[in-house]
Chain length 480, copies 2
């Protein structure tokens, strides 16, 4: 067990804070609810950005940048939208030494200002679809902040698109949900469940909201990305219209979709263990750390020559490698340092290894003895990419196993009340409840309907709350 890290079985919330502190991912800021993202944590976010940004561009989206400040009157135009966001707004009332005539809202999301611009830019069906994205900071005043998961200011991307009709917009909504699902699974090694939100849980202003729900190490759910079909709700209030091919004015159909720095929290909690972080190679700031081991200067020179050759070649191959040749620190200290930081692969190279023609390797994702193996010096550079791929797929496999082993079902509310406490996890149940039923469920059990999975099973059954026959299954869980 790592020093300074609480056992996650004992106190998961404390474990989470400990990992963030010990791995130097983030720190709290002087303003309540805000955080500072430290270089190691930010580097994970940069890798998330690079992967998603490439996917957005591949699906035809372009980046743009819209202003931080939104006139208060804009936010108020869409009724559900303002109701949803009003309690969380931060408002600028003074600027340039004067009181402002109209207060400015610090953007909580950009649907309103983007519709204002779309209504200028979109004239004809030839201008559609308009497929934009922005990487930005947003502010939602947070009463119960938690690093990465809920912070007053956070970093995210928000896609905003306008389409000629509902069909095209709904396809886009699911296309981007799919981009998120793929990313979570194949890059972050998190087997999320894509699904639709219930009426109660959907975005303020959307017709339909979709989500990817990830399971954290304590069995709770984390909403890790959302994609919304907005219909013509914003288009109507901002008059975002186009001339169709029959020369008639039509409202555009819109989507918006986003993921945030919350994903860093998802990675910590989906993979971390009692020794700290465990990072999937595709997101790890350092994929391979090499710790040279030498007792005296002549051994050091001999070892370092080999270490540098290996690290140079790996770097040229695009592997993110770091050599830890800090002086005055024991190998044990260094092993722990990189273990807490979740580096997927550690290599140790000493004079004896050189003589025997191999290096000692340790795979962060495997426990205890299973983590150790040797790699022949002759083939080391060729074998590393394959080992990183193996770690990546082992981590996904483990996460799938964990999720499956903590996915349960129940037949009625009484059973659920007890089960969600004794066996926290995903409850895959028949559901035909109303918004009121959902509210009661949350009040009585603290659990919520996370999503109506896109993949539904055949047949019907009795809703576990109302007893009514239904063909719909949902995932219910405690959530962050």
């Amino acid at each position: 067990m790592a020093k300074n890290i609480t056992n996650p079985e004992k106190d998961y919330a404390k474990w989470y804070q400990d990992v963030i502190r010990e791995a130097e991912l983030a720190d709290s800021a002087p303003v309540r609810g805000c955080m500072v993202i430290r270089p190691y944590g930010y580097s994970i976010w940069e890798n998330i950005q690079a992967s998603l940004d490439a996917s957005f561009k591949k699906t035809g989206h372009k980046n743009a940048y819209f202003p931080l400040f939104i006139p208060e009157s804009f936010i108020k135009r869409e009724a559900e939208h303002v109701e949803g966001f009003a309690p969380e707004l931060a408002i600028v009332t003074q600027a340039g030494g004067k009181k402002l005539e109209e207060p400015l809202v610090v953007r909580p999301t950009s649907e309103t200002i983007i519709n204002h611009m779309f209504s200028k830019w979109i004239n004809s069906y030839r201008d559609l679809p308009m497929l934009l994205n922005q990487w930005a900071n947003v502010v939602r005043w947070e009463m119960r902040p938690r690093a990465f998961l809920r912070t007053t200011e956070f970093l995210w991307q928000e896609g905003h698109t306008a389409h000629a009709d509902e069909k095209d917009a709904r396809e886009e909504t699911l296309r981007m949900l799919n981009v998120y699902t793929d990313f979570a699974r194949n890059v972050a090694a998190i087997p999320v469940i894509p699904g639709r939100k219930t009426e109660r849980e959907k975005f303020a202003g959307a017709v339909d909201s979709y989500t990817i729900e990830a399971m954290m190490g304590n069995g709770w759910a984390l909403q890790s990305g959302t994609s919304h079909y907005l219909g013509t709700n914003f288009a109507r209030v901002f008059e975002t219209m186009y001339l169709d091919s029959n020369n008639e004015q039509q409202f555009v159909h819109q989507t918006s979709w986003g993921v945030s720095t919350r994903l860093v929290g998802a990675v910590i909690m989906a993979h971390g263990d009692e020794n700290g972080l465990r990072l999937p190679p595709k997101l790890a700031p350092v994929q391979v750390v090499i710790v040279p081991i030498a007792r005296d200067d002549s051994a050091r020179a001999e070892v370092m020559a080999v270490v540098e050759r290996i690290s140079d070649v790996l770097e040229k191959e695009g592997v993110r490698v770091e050599v830890d040749n800090r002086e005055g620190m024991s190998p044990g200290f260094k092993f722990n340092y990189w273990e807490v930081r979740g580096v997927p692969l550690r290599l140790e190279i000493g004079p004896r290894d050189l003589k025997e023609g191999h290096v000692m390797a340790s795979q962060r994702n495997r426990p205890g003895r299973d983590s150790k193996f040797t790699i022949s010096l002759d083939s080391i550079v060729d074998s590393i990419p394959g080992i990183l791929e193996r770690i990546q797929s082992e981590m996904l496999e483990e996460a799938i196993q964990k999720r499956n082993s903590r996915t349960y079902t129940v037949e009625n509310l009484d059973d659920f009340r007890e089960a969600i406490v004794s066996k926290p996890g995903f409850y895959d149940v028949w559901w035909d409840g109303s918004t009121e039923d959902e509210t009661r469920l949350q009040q009585e059990t603290k659990a919520t309907v996370r999503c109506i999975p896109l993949e539904q099973r055949e047949g019907t059954g009795k809703c576990f709350m109302t007893g009514r026959e239904t063909n719909t299954r949902v995932i219910i869980a405690r959530a962050y």
Copy 2:
């Protein structure tokens, strides 16, 4: 002359606005002084970011993220700093439905909050140097906004570093100035003049400020990047200290340095002409545009097969290529469309070209007939990278010529008064003036001392304002 673009000789300010609108670089936002960066403009900024970010990392810096909101009391701690920024601050007074106890400043720059964090993170000389950067938005309330050049909110990077002593910090200050100079010259093709700011022009809170000054198409100067040696000014008020190797507490010496979306304005004005933008290939969102030319369907099929093959291979080679096969638009319309957008190289391919085994090429940076040449179809893919390099170096060469031809000298203030009006440009003059002399110079001529160039000539001469003998030369110009 392009439609809808004012002749820059007639009205340079109007020309600038016209180019931004016609090339779809930016649009004004509903909040005064703010702008929307449209996809084409944002893509130039992404290329600027990618190039600089790689240079920052190569010089040992790591990215991090600090909060948007700074407690008002922080800004007030450093006396010169608050005096410099107070008139430009935007202030959040309400959040989460309540009046805040302490108002929050929307960051105009992050020295104060970063020092607050540095004082937690830095303990010993082993923690130094600390070399951080952040890409972020900042807000400075702007009374006379101009797209990209002066906007209330802008995007930038701000580097912040802490060092054990003055020597190390001063080296860093100049190292980063040098990174900016190299970028401007070799990527943006703008031959900036690196130099030191006078006392009057330096950053609020710095000991010494350095700048790169670029010449715009109208002979005015644009401060395009700055690098500051902050001494211990912020360290003293935030108690950012470390234990040196003798176990004594010392203040850290600091630097900060930044460039912003203003660089997009620099690119527009350094290279643009009466037909719109001209982009250096290294920053161009589209480096090569291919316009297929075909009158009928069979010709179109034949042409498109070749066009797609060329574009696929170029893309694989890392060339940013776009095929404009939009229907219902004439070749002339398309030529103009891409010309306004400054695409460095245009290829036209029609059935006759295929028969003759070549394509028609046009280099955006050259005027009229000199822009046209043919490329053999056999060697086209191999020759494009070389042509783009040629365009890049021709653009730098042209910018150097222009700058040199508009760099003058004068012997006294009376001559200058007339010269700066009849021949706007850089005035390279002997200087021994005081801050009061600078103020008078600006009041009488609207020109300012842009910098004391790092490269000084031998010898001495008489200050053009005071007549005193001096060994210092400065650049004086009208500036944005």
